[in-house]
Subunit: 501 residues, 4 copies
């Protein structure tokens, strides 16, 4: 392909807007913090979203008895420690208001190994007070200018029994209205939204929600939903296998809210995909594979044109929805495993973080970008078969790239795939140790790094010709810089061993 | 007092043998790790003991179902992360085997906010397998030479209903025998012991235990019990007040096991006090006070002559037995608060860690030590009234200390007390903010530092005369070093402003 | 004094605009870097100025011979390492163009132990090429937007024989013109200036310079000079004593350029004091004293109204103009000694860095400031006698400070003086060890910290009454914050020891 | 080759005994310290040797005048900072006593860009006092037990005019005798030796030295010399090309002292090769190449059987003997360039540091080792042509390696060579930037890493069959560990995409 010299458009950075994480109080963990620091250094997300801010582990809602009378304390010991740490790491909370403190729940039903109570609040007034106190506290500590940049989402996947067992859609509408009005009553400039629908929600759900919002003039600043591509669970101990749909169905899911809301009062609102991945299971080994990066590559590259954010679920395997993970590689959602081993999908994101501001060209398996200083960065990937029945090896991408004057260009190529940057494969070769020894962890850390090559290529007519061959499940970043040749005239590698005598 | 030149004996370092901590999986927390690193750097403990190794939060015991049949996996994901971190920080586990995984319990009773199941194992065989697998795993990973240095204690305070609700002493005997035999069957060189009695146990409990051990020739390598001095709880929300007994009663409690076991088969065994403090409540504000350091000073100085270890309960306020702490200063057990603010008792330990190898003299309110290089280090403290009804101010300690030849000595004095090194007092002056702002945390961190003074004193006859005056609840470290005067002859501070013209 | 509630004006931050340093290549040193990192963290300067960018140690100018013919290479190996490090530490170069590479000098004369050649360039064309190449390289690497914020000063103290031995003022004028025109020819938006006059220059020097500039329409963006208050040297080995003038004479020196240039073409230009201190000697022990901080306090507080910057000479004792320093405290210029022991003048700057944006009031020995969040910060100092013949002890500052509603305020006070924050005094008590042992360095580090006290005071009528008593040579920072009382009703320190039985 | 199961002998760790460095005071540099920390972490040398301890840059010898009379101060400001840093990094000084302080020299001759005075001391008494004071100071600070482990070498290459311009061999003998006797007079347990001969010394030099020692019964604890293989210099600006001799001539040079001293009084002494490399020039690009690692591999593997130490000259390019290096890759001696880019020879050492305690087998191009835990580590290298006229590609090493029971082994292979781990090649492709931009430095850092591959291989009869193919100038580390297969029975990668529907 003859890559044009003029940009076709901007490369959206919606991909970095948000990333998901395990429950709120897991942010107190050392591994979580180290992982987030690494992710921020090499990728750099802007917001982080997670469940459980209002659940018991975070400890906000603390009833007590004194002199026989009940009292209530709001405690921000952990919340402040966590949000302080986020801001120090350059990431902000994308607040999810949920779930219910056990003492405020209307029933005993819980979700997850960590037992988040998901019943509707027994007392709307106490819920509203909890929301108001929490948001007010955050503003007092961090300032309104800061907090008004944090989206506030009401609950999680209320269309699913597992998250909203005792209620129905109308109950969610009431919860949403109460919560949104409470938030706006604290300050009208705060951003509130929902409903964080699951991918399984039928198309009418959102329309009914929109009608409700419009009827009652309820505040709303954004619409949110989730997207996954996996089929029914095929459980094994500590794991799940599932079929997958083509990756492009993710883009369809991303696009759905705008389509469903066309013509409604919510039509113009920002749309946030507050969770997405292939499988929605925290124990599906597909997350750990090289396939996964190649599968998601075209989605992450293209989705910024469809939505305002799409939040990869999640940045780290420090995550306990299914209990304490039984093995280093256990199919967790994370970009990183425990102890911060990078998975191939981590590199997909780190590669994308090095793309330039402008898109020069894009195709089925590549995108070519340029930054204002003239550096070219290309992401390319091998097409994948979502059924795993066949695979592509030796996929070729031929590009004629404009690099300007000069006689040569420096090419740096970084790749992950089945053969390189694939810690899971090294771990399998080790015998799949559940809890690797320190020297094994060191080897996994090294095995997780991309393979990198460097070379000089000639420039002809202001262009370099690239013929990229991609291995199975390969995702590759190719960076092209014009060479400024500083070689002095006396430098001569032919003389390295001395002139002949 | 004329301090003699010849040592009266060695200063025991039993005080640094062990320290307590919150439940096992809290060691995954960032604040816990940072706190432990600080404690190790400025104090340096050798072992660390905590509850919950076998409880669900640490995740070892994981039953599953496959094809309709039950299975069981042992998972060391978290255990390995934690023990790896301990060894990297220079501290080793003092293993407490407890409590029961919920799925292995014989009933639903739990202890603490974090709901540790404390019922006897439903299956002795499965308990033995759990113990065997855990110890074997540790040996595989860390080596037998390492693990045989780790004491292994069976259960915690089995004389109390709260920790052993369904059982009686005979039940504990059976658990002890099964566990100890299992440990020794893994390797006979491992150290096993118990019974980690509470201070409230009657004197006959230990004798019955001893008789049982002797009768059945059960393995035992050490005897353990706990010691506290507080009276009945006077609860308030998120806190407890209590009367205290004199600190010397701690020494009586430390001495009790040897007295009670005199003449029995267990008479010669090492005795470990595996928990001690004033109050046994994690929410008694006395722990945070300057009083507390002065109260415990004579105990920590003297106890090394009575027992093989006495483990301060605990090094950090990262501790959730009563829930998520509702305030920065909440009466937690820790030497450090959340976010690592040093309490006065932290400094008691850091001062003691700077004492020398040999004791030259000691008294009611001081000890004088010397290290092989000749540096003198003195710990002194103001006597306290455990009822708080009166207090000592201006307590004097007069010492004539041998420092050898030379004409002057350099004195460095570090003190904490009501007036200095008292972060709780600064926090009270701030209005007791539950979750201090960053600049308040900075101020608390500074307020927590000892006041330090430096001066030169004359040496006469190889001695310096010290007249130490101690304020209320003061604990002070005085370090004395002979001065080697390197002042050149032309140095003259009288000339600092130039000679007169 | 009744401090008014409305600001009297802004507190200028010209004090932080620039700081001095040892010769350019000393910035490769580890101690220098650690010191700069500490200074940036606790104070935060914006620019750094030093000699020797073009001298041989920095290695830019490298003549060579090839095939019998001379050639010339410009090498930025060290320059880039240093400037990279500066920008990473948040500080920018205030470029001083000097001195002459030895191979470009017109003679052998050097200045300092490190032998900087200070003769006029033998070839004006080569000098211009050196300047052009250096500035162009910096722009290529750091960008024009960055480099145009860096002032570029031509030479250093050309009125002194020691720095300009072979020339006279006209020679400097020619050097200035050549250099300034060369810089502007690279880019007209760059800032160039001079003449970095010594304090001893007569008042006519600057007028002649101004006339020359005007006559020939030479570019100039700022005027610079230096200021010191010390009298003739009274040398001793490795040291110098000197008389001092009153500190206020520094303010006179700062004000002089504007006065001397009034009515000339240079009248409106920014004025930078590119070096100031008491003594101009790198071995006068006055720099290390508590006196020094109190002496300079009124200067640093007031000078921002007179000039655009005044650069303390220097931030660190890593400085070799008089050779390798023979002792830890040797009268170096630094805010920090070798190994980063803080001198009292360091704290003067760190205290000032905590003052607020607005000045509420000021007096002979204090300034009261407030930041937008309402925190009050007061700097006060004991007046000093510059002859050292008398001293002030117990100086009182009484202030009635507005803090707004509330019933109490939190006061944090930090002080240095003869008794506290005085590492030199502790070092003297140690016997003035030339190269202290590690444990002595630790003690010095602690001795260098300010004494800090914390208390709560009542607020009456929206004000707190402060009666500050200052010891000899004390400089003190008092921070006042309104208390938000969060004490719960059940909190009662009277119950700490339990209710009476 | 059928590698035997029983060790053929121990693998000597003489290779890690010592490493060389630039002049003493360069150890104050930040880049030097960071480089040493990296080298210690990934390789771990025991001693470090360098010139210039007594030269002016280190600042020990400081004459002064007072009241018209001369005086002399010894200053250890820098020495202590440097040695403190070494010990903190786990490395000890191999002391070289040299050169002469300028003020103590008998003439003006200097060596190197940094102008070390190399004339014999004008006053033997002052030289002896300097040596005595320096050694005594080190003992006072670090303890005799420590300092007696530090070899003390007298001067450097006294057989060369450039280092010993005014003297002859007899003069050196006198210097040696005076110095050695002075050292032994401080403490007889100190180790002193010499003569640090250059490779060009004729065979009689050492015999004459030995005769002198024997005649006068001068103390000596070790013999030292240097070894290089390069031919005459072919200078270009900022660089030198040279022919090379075969690497095996290094082993001949290492062996020479024992041969030459056979039958003399010095016959049984330890022999230290206190400098070795290919070229003795700090600007020969051969040092930076992949060739260099392969060239030296057989030397570093074999030399431990010949001598007690052989010190690679040097660990870092922070080195100024030929001035400020004009380019990132300039042919410096270092294992690391400026800014710590790893050269291939760095990896040769890091690979060797991972070899096991016992040698199982060795050959022309490999060595097979095993550690006590049973891990096999193999170093192999492609044979090289020292004339560069031909090269080996596809060199094969076939090994049948014993790994014990089990059905598979995990193989980790790390390689550097022309294609990988070759930062100089990447730099050449960039256009040889003299001072690379930050993003280029990042790319160089990545390009400097070895390529690493991981796989599982079958074990048959307790052995794995390795068929290693080595590219041009490749050096490779192959680590073989038996696999303990923990794969659970339900794990099945064939199910990754879900069962067929």
């Amino acid at each position: 392909m003859l890559v044009p010299e003029r940009p076709a458009g901007r490369f959206s950075d919606a991909w970095r807007r948000c990333v998901g994480a395990g429950r709120f109080d897991l942010a107190l963990r050392s591994d979580y913090r180290d992982s987030l620091a690494l992710v921020q250094q090499e990728i750099g997300f802007q917001y982080i979203r997670q469940h459980g801010l209002l659940s018991d582990g975070a400890g906000i809602y603390q009833p007590y008895t004194r002199g026989g009378s009940p009292g209530l304390a709001y405690t921000f010991t952990y919340v402040d420690q966590i949000v302080d740490a986020y801001l120090a790491l350059g990431v902000r909370p994308f607040i999810e208001l949920g779930f219910t403190p056990a003492a405020l729940g209307s029933g005993p039903q819980t979700v997850f190994w960590w037992q988040g109570n998901v019943t509707p609040p027994a007392s709307p007034a106490e819920w509203a007070a909890l929301v108001r106190t929490t948001i007010t506290h955050l503003i007092d500590r961090y300032g309104l200018d800061e907090v008004r940049t944090w989206p506030i989402e009401v609950w999680n996947e209320p269309d699913l029994d597992v998250f909203w067992p005792a209620g129905d859609q109308d109950d969610y509408h009431r919860l949403y209205e109460l919560t949104a009005c409470t938030v706006k009553d604290v300050d009208a400039s705060l951003q509130v939204g929902g409903p964080a629908l699951s991918p399984g929600a039928d198309a009418e759900w959102l329309k009914r929600f929109s009608a409700f919002i419009e009827d009652r003039a309820v505040p709303i600043d954004f619409v949110s939903r989730h997207a996954y591509t996996s089929g029914p669970s095929q459980p094994v101990p500590f794991g799940t296998y599932q079929t997958l749909m083509p990756a492009a169905t993710l883009l369809d899911q991303f696009a759905a809210p705008r389509q469903e809301l066309a013509g409604t009062a919510l039509a113009g609102l920002p749309v946030h995909i507050t969770e997405f991945s292939s499988s929605y299971r925290p124990d599906n080994p597909i997350h750990d594979t090289a396939f996964h990066a190649a599968y998601l590559a075209p989605v992450v590259v293209a989705a910024g044109d469809l939505v305002d954010s799409f939040s990869y679920w999640t940045f780290s395997d420090v995550f306990e929805e299914a209990g304490v993970p039984a093995s280093m590689f256990h199919g967790g959602f994370g970009l990183l495993t425990h102890r911060q081993i990078k998975k191939p999908t981590f590199h997909l994101y780190s590669f994308i973080s090095r793309l330039g501001r402008d898109v020069l060209a894009s195709g089925e398996s590549f995108v070519v970008t340029r930054d204002p200083a003239g550096h070219i960065a290309i992401l390319a990937w091998a097409p994948v078969d979502h059924t795993g029945r066949s695979f592509v090896d030796g996929h070729r991408v031929r590009l004629s790239v404009p690099v300007g004057p000069g006689s040569s260009a420096f090419i740096a190529r970084s790749s992950v795939g089945e053969e390189a940057g694939n810690a899971r494969a090294a771990w399998a070769a080790m015998g799949r140790p559940a809890s690797p020894r320190p020297r094994q962890v060191d080897a996994l850390r090294e095995a997780a790094e991309p393979v990198r090559t460097y070379r000089s290529v000639p420039v002809a007519g202001g262009r370099v010709e690239l013929d990229l061959v991609l291995g199975r499940h390969e995702v590759t970043l190719v960076e092209v810089s014009p060479v400024v040749d500083e070689t002095p005239p006396w430098s001569d590698d032919a003389r390295l061993f001395g002139r002949a005598g």
